[in-house]
């Protein structure tokens, strides 16, 4: 396994009076795509939000590229090279596609070559360049959300359920985009429910249950072992899909 870019040790977090994370230990290897699997309510999204500093930690540490970022404010974490695409996508609906991307390029004007690469990945963004992002379809919004995360080179992407509610053709486009990002050695932590999608992309996998990581290993190992899938995910996913 490659050296870790991100490491969570014993991370605990509460939302209001509920304990959501009960000590999450997670390692994201550098330059690989790690899939975080688990049932609804297992704490996957909260884990991503905690890494971004959006949910307050009550215990444990988050280490990113050797630095302790546990108590860093969200903007500082973002500027350190971590991009986060939340489940809701967080598109600014009243801003145009262009303005959404202008803001995402924090360090200055957008790089033309990189923008062209994004247009090639997601042609609709070029077509609706000056349209309010709120008028885009669900799939196009997801494209914009991911484009925003990669408009500048980042070291780590945190992506929460990008395939949720999307048509299969668009899911394929997204998978292609993630393949290209993997080729560029971007480290990715992907929360997914769609096992086929995760199996195609993931190199490493972690499974969460009830606020803790209950299994971590390679994707190949999990993909081959249906018994383990049954055990961890509660579904014979391989048999169904």
């Amino acid at each position: 396994m490659a050296e870790p870019i991100l490491k969570l040790s014993g991370v605990k977090a509460d939302i209001d009076q509920y304990h959501i994370l009960h000590g999450v230990d997670l390692v994201v290897p550098k330059g690989e795509l790690t899939v975080l699997l688990g049932r609804n309510g297992a704490g996957k999204s909260t884990t991503l939000r905690t890494i971004m500093g959006l949910t307050t930690l009550t215990g444990g540490t988050v280490t990113y590229q050797g630095q302790d970022i546990t108590r860093w404010p969200t903007p500082k974490i973002a500027r350190a090279g971590i991009a986060f695409v939340p489940e809701s996508m967080g598109i600014f609906g009243l801003l145009t596609v262009r303005e959404n991307l202008v803001l995402a390029a924090v360090s200055g004007p957008m790089d033309e070559a990189r923008l062209q690469w994004i247009f090639d990945l997601f042609p609709p963004l070029k077509k609706f360049w000056d349209k309010p992002a709120g008028t885009l379809s669900g799939g196009q919004k997801q494209m914009l959300a991911i484009a925003r995360a990669v408009i500048e080179p980042r070291d780590l992407l945190l992506v929460d359920e990008p395939t949720k509610g999307l048509a299969p053709a668009i899911i394929n486009d997204l998978a292609d985009a993630f393949d290209q990002l993997k080729e560029q050695q971007v480290s990715i932590l992907l929360v997914e429910q769609n096992f086929n999608f995760s199996r195609r992309l993931g190199q490493t996998v972690a499974v969460m249950n009830d606020g803790a990581v209950v299994h971590a290993g390679t994707m190949a190992e999990l993909a081959e072992n249906e018994e383990l899938q049954q055990d961890l995910l509660g579904l014979g996913l391989g048999a169904h899909q």
Partner: protein, 361 residues
């Protein structure tokens, strides 16, 4: 209506000119839905011109726009601070008073020599510093006020109301401490006193009398509105402000410090209130510590009417409030105060989020 709709299928052969073939009623309905602010403004202008003699109407309209422009200056800062951080700053009126006193001091005491010259250019030597000084003082006090009073109560509306009302009382008392408890008369600069008489010979508008100061207020208000629109629409800061109004969290996720942005907007909003204060002070030619507070009802009506957080909405809201005040004040003076609030109630029943909704309250 029915005639046009039944005629539609026949015209299907010639596609591409649908826009022209749409019935006027449909067009109107479309305007009402999508340009509610312009629709309402048009209705108000048409309704008033129908009952008021044209020349009187023109004078009232220009005065109404002048009042709207001053109201816009006062209200724009408050709508942005609410839109961006959902901070209810009820001390906004105190900043209006503060600006009026700071600017009034420059006009009446420090540079009164320039202000009393009959030349407009010489007057400007007093007016421009007065405007800048008012904006500066209100901005600086805004900075301190945000740090001391607003910051500890982010996210809690009840506390914001209590604490900003308290802060407002303190600010007004400080004005009394510095400037004394008496009202201070401030005469307008010499060149802005009096009125233009439009030559009788001109058709339609000949013979009407326009107060010079109101024309200046209209020009200044429009210039500042244009400047703000440019910032909001075209610059990175503007995009950031609009994004922040939609979602603070996502702005932070992109790597921007929302509190810094908010602080900047709060200072700018206070400075604008100060600017509006000087304009209002010159309008009334009398300064009292409570003059800003007395405007708060109108300011709150303007920002709710326009849609909280929307600069455009605030501008049109201010115009509508300014105009209805003058029109109703002319037709039936006793109803003038009711008209403003009545306008707000009517608009809210029709569009609960205001004319140009930006945030979901």
């Amino acid at each position: 209506m029915t005639e046009e709709t039944t005629a539609m299928p026949l015209s299907e052969t010639g596609s591409g000119s649908e826009r022209e073939r749409r019935s006027p009623i449909e067009w109107l309905r479309d305007q009402r839905e999508h340009r509610a602010h312009l629709f309402l403004l048009a209705i108000m202008l048409l309704a008033s011109i129908a009952v008021i003699d044209f020349r009187t109407w023109l004078v009232l309209t220009i005065s109404g726009v002048a009042m709207g422009a001053v109201l816009f200056l006062m209200a724009s800062g408050m709508t942005l601070t609410f839109g961006l951080m959902s901070v209810l700053n009820l001390a906004h009126g105190a900043f209006i008073s503060l600006g009026a006193f700071a600017g009034g001091t420059v006009l009446a005491f420090w540079l009164d020599g320039f202000a009393s010259s009959p030349s407009f250019l010489t007057n400007l030597v007093a007016i421009i510093p007065a405007l800048l000084f008012a904006a500066f003082i209100a901005g600086v006090v805004g900075l301190v006020f945000e740090k001391l009073v607003i910051k500890p109560v982010y996210g809690d509306h009840l506390k914001q109301i209590l604490v900003t009302v308290g802060g407002s009382i303190i600010l007004m008392q400080l004005i009394e401490v510095i400037w004394g408890p008496n009202e201070i008369p401030v005469t307008r600069p010499e060149a802005l006193q009096g009125a233009f008489l439009v030559p009788e010979a001109l058709p339609l508008i000949g013979g009407i009398v326009l107060e010079k100061y109101r024309l200046v207020a209209v020009v200044l208000g429009l210039a500042i509105y244009a400047g703000m629109l440019w910032i909001i629409d075209r610059t990175r800061i503007g995009i950031l402000i609009r994004a922040g109004v939609e979602s603070r969290e996502m702005v932070e996720i992109q790597g921007y410090r929302i509190h810094l942005l908010f602080l900047g907007v709060f200072i700018a909003g206070s400075a604008l209130a100060g600017l509006g204060g000087v304009m209002w002070g010159m309008y009334k030619e009398l300064l009292t510590p409570h003059m800003g507070d007395e405007m708060m009802i109108s300011v709150i009506v303007v920002i709710i009417l326009g849609g909280l957080g929307s600069i455009r909405g605030c501008f049109y809201g201010a115009l509508l409030v300014g105009l209805i005040n003058l029109y109703i004040g002319f037709v039936e003076p006793r109803l003038a105060a009711v008209a403003t609030v009545g306008l707000m109630v009517g608009v809210l029943m029709w569009r609960p989020q205001g004319l140009i909704p930006v945030i979901k309250v």
